[in-house]
Amino acid sequence: MAQHTISVLVEQTFDALPRIAGLFSGRGYQIDSISVGEAEEPGMARMTIVTHGDEKIIEQINKQLNKIVDVVKVTDLTEEPFVERELALVKVSATQSTRNEIMQIVNIFRAKIIDISPKTLTVECTGGHAKVQAIISMLRPFGIREIARTGRVALKREFRGET
């Protein structure tokens, strides 16, 4: 079953987010990732939902989202080239002996150390879903204490020539 990234432009009302979440839970659709934040226009939010299901379910998700009054626009990005990013903060155990090794991994992934303590490092990593998964699995052997991830955000790619 294919994964789909759906971008939803929605009015920022108190009821918009629970209505969308309730649509997924009430009808048994899957949410693999969901993220929401202010969009370009004041009062509007853009929500990026990653879901999976067969063609029929994805079609229903698109149509049902469109029926929600606060939803202004639904775009299934999967149908066209799009860029996607996710941000993860990873708090990993670090001793004097492992700190350097961790920093090398961080450099390889062009991630950043944003907090340091005698026993931990907190790493900020941005990238596609696969990259974030990869750095997390590289850091796992050192002992991951906590992870916070944003979920994926995505926009349609405009300049087709570069790919």
């Binding site: 229903q60 029926k67 009054v69 202004v72």
Partner: protein, 596 residues
């Protein structure tokens, strides 16, 4: 006051004759209470009647309504009754039904009514009281998260945050309730917002950015549909509640009659095509006619309009209409392709799509196909055994049909009697059936009939309103007979009293070896005629076949209040034909097994 037709939709279609919603000129006002603005906006939106029950959170609003005698408030016995009544009112008028209830239990009691309206796409606006804004979330007295509870069963919910947004929110709520596929909208009204002061300005056009239903069908798809219809050898028109607007029903008639296409309908679509026309097949589905179900299974083209291929209609999906291409016209794109794959999808309002489609179709006589269907009709008509001395429920419906000449608004509850009304009443006009088709809400009948009767009182062309209910469902909401009596509403209630929760009993008989667990009501049923009299209604009894006709005639003459007829019918009559759950449409059974 001058009245004018509403033109609120951003993409306004041509004005439709059935739309009775009028805009009324209401004077502007300054420094008014939120409650005042709310009532003025209701009047502006053409509301004549509301249904509901007062309470602490809406006491201020209650007080204000007392100053607006032009707003008629029907005080019901239970909030569920209020919503069903508003729903019944909405279904027969096409106007928005309006409900006013208090917070907490007032709101939770209305939930079944809201879900019923949602499943049957009925435009209802439910105004719910709420604790003051600053107390929300504190588990205050009579506080409940109304918007949260009703979220999955409403088109939309609003929480009023200030008095200044009362008027526009109400205008939006009405627009959303009616536009596209209609449905219920909740407006939750904190007590302090209703008391705060603001100005009222008569209405401006409201634009709801995220909700602009598609009215006109796609021209290319319409021409593809016309092509398929023109070349089909075995077409069937399958219509639903989406063609109950008279102007849409008229075009369905033209499409069928001009091109000799046989017509079947869902429970919700009954009346949109005249049942005395030779092209009428009867209802389809679980308790549909043999001919209707066989026609679907043998069709090469199904033209579905305003229907949604519900599981009670299709039977086992894998074997549904195996040879048919499907043209599906619906205003809600999400029902197209949801249950069955569709060859020609057309999203749009039935009326406007048919305006474009009907002239493109090449007429045909479909002689062989109609003969084949006539053969099914001859061999397998709807039938029941007549037994001397026993009142048969089907006979009662037939007699109701004759006495009212097919002109009544038939309101049903849920169960066997509902199917007998669907099978045996000779519907002639659209907007003649009011029934809980989607949710199957027992208790719907009496209050919905009351709402439909209120609508008749407002109408220049009043039609009789007949409620046919079972003895089980009747007892769920029969307190609303008291309401009907209080307002002198001439509702005719026929209680098809078989002493059982009959539809469940039928399933127990057919599929659970006649083990009638918890379905027997006889012995514990009250005397319904006496109950009626105690409630201030007329109470009549039918216990012999020869009483059926004269008592129906007597009941229909009562015009100053409700009448309840206790119709004591055969206890174990079953509804046939029947497609057992999980069977295909052509696997209908016509006779009982077990017990017999």
């Amino acid at each position: 006051m001058s009245a004018e037709i509403a033109t609120r939709m951003p993409e306004a279609p041509a004005r439709e004759p059935s739309r009775k919603t009028r805009r009324v000129k209401v004077e502007p006002g300054y420094d008014l209470k939120g409650s005042d603005v709310l009532v003025r906006t209701l009047l502006e939106l053409g509301v004549e009647t509301i249904f509901g029950i007062p309470g602490g959170a809406i006491i201020d609003l209650c007080d204000v309504t007392g100053r607006y005698p032009e707003l008629n408030w029907i005080l019901t016995k239970h909030e569920q009754g209020a919503v069903h009544a508003a729903d019944g009112y909405a279904r027969v008028t096409g106007k928005v039904g309006v409900v006013l209830v208090t917070s907490g239990p007032g709101a939770t009691n209305s939930v079944t009514g809201i879900a019923t309206a949602f499943m049957d796409s009925s435009p209802v606006v439910v105004l719910t009281g709420q604790v003051p804004l600053r107390m929300i979330g504190n588990e205050a007295f009579q506080e409940v998260d109304t918007i949260g509870i009703t979220r999955p069963i409403t088109k939309h919910g609003f929480l009023l945050k200030s008095a200044g947004e009362v008027a526009d929110t109400l205008r939006k709520a009405f627009y959303i309730a009616r536009a596209g596929r209609p449905g219920p909208v909740v407006v939750d009204m904190p007590k302090d917002v209703l008391a705060d002061r603001t100005d009222y300005e008569p209405g401006e056009e409201i634009v709801v950015r995220g909700y602009k239903p598609k009215i006109f069908g796609h021209a290319h798809q319409i021409s593809r549909a016309a092509e398929r219809i023109s070349r089909a050898k075995r077409p069937v028109l399958y219509i639903g509640g989406g063609v109950q607007k008279p102007e849409a029903a008229e075009l369905v008639r033209r499409l069928a009659i001009d091109n000799n296409i046989p017509v079947t309908s869902t429970l919700m679509g009954l009346g949109a095509f005249p049942t005395d026309h030779p092209l009428w097949l009867g209802m389809l589905g679980m308790h549909g006619t043999w001919a209707a179900n066989m026609a679907m299974q043998h069709a090469d083209l199904i033209i579905a309009i305003g229907a949604r291929f519900d599981d009670r209609v299709t039977g086992r999906l894998e074997e549904f209409a195996p040879n048919a291409e499907i043209v599906h016209i619906d205003i809600d794109s999400s029902v197209i392709g949801k249950n069955v794959p569709v060859d020609v999808p057309i999203v749009g309002d039935a009326y406007h799509v048919l305006v474009d489609l009907v002239p493109l179709v090449q007429p045909a006589d479909h002689k062989e196909w109609l003969e084949e269907i006539a053969e099914w009709q001859r061999k397998h008509p709807l039938r029941y055994r007549r037994e001397p001395g026993v009142v048969k429920p089907q006979y009662v419906v037939e007699q109701l049909s004759e006495v009212t000449d097919g002109d009544a608004i038939m309101v049903t509850d849920v169960g066997q009697h509902q199917m007998w009304v669907a099978q045996y009443y000779r519907f002639k006009h659209p907007k003649s059936i009011v029934t809980s088709g989607g949710l199957g809400t027992m208790g719907f009948g009496v209050p919905a009939a009351m709402g439909a009767t209120v609508a008749q009182k407002e109408s220049e062309h009043a039609r009789p309103v007949v409620a046919v209910v079972g003895d089980g469902g009747f007892q769920m909401t029969f307190a609303e007979i008291i309401t009907a009596a209080a307002y002198n509403l001439p509702v005719k209630v026929f209680v098809i009293n078989n002493g059982y929760l009959g539809m469940v009993r039928q399933w127990q008989q057919l599929f659970y070896s006649c083990r009638y667990v918890k379905t027997a009501l006889y012995g514990a049923n009250p005397d319904f005629a006496k109950v009626a009299e105690a409630f201030g209604a007329r109470g009549l009894v039918i216990s012999k076949p020869e009483e059926v006709r004269p008592v129906i005639e007597e009941a229909m003459k009562v015009d100053d209040g409700p009448v309840v007829v206790d119709v004591r019918v055969r206890a174990d009559e079953n509804v046939f034909p029947m497609v057992p759950a999980g069977a295909a449409l052509h696997e209908m059974i016509e006779e009982e097994s077990c017990g017999e």
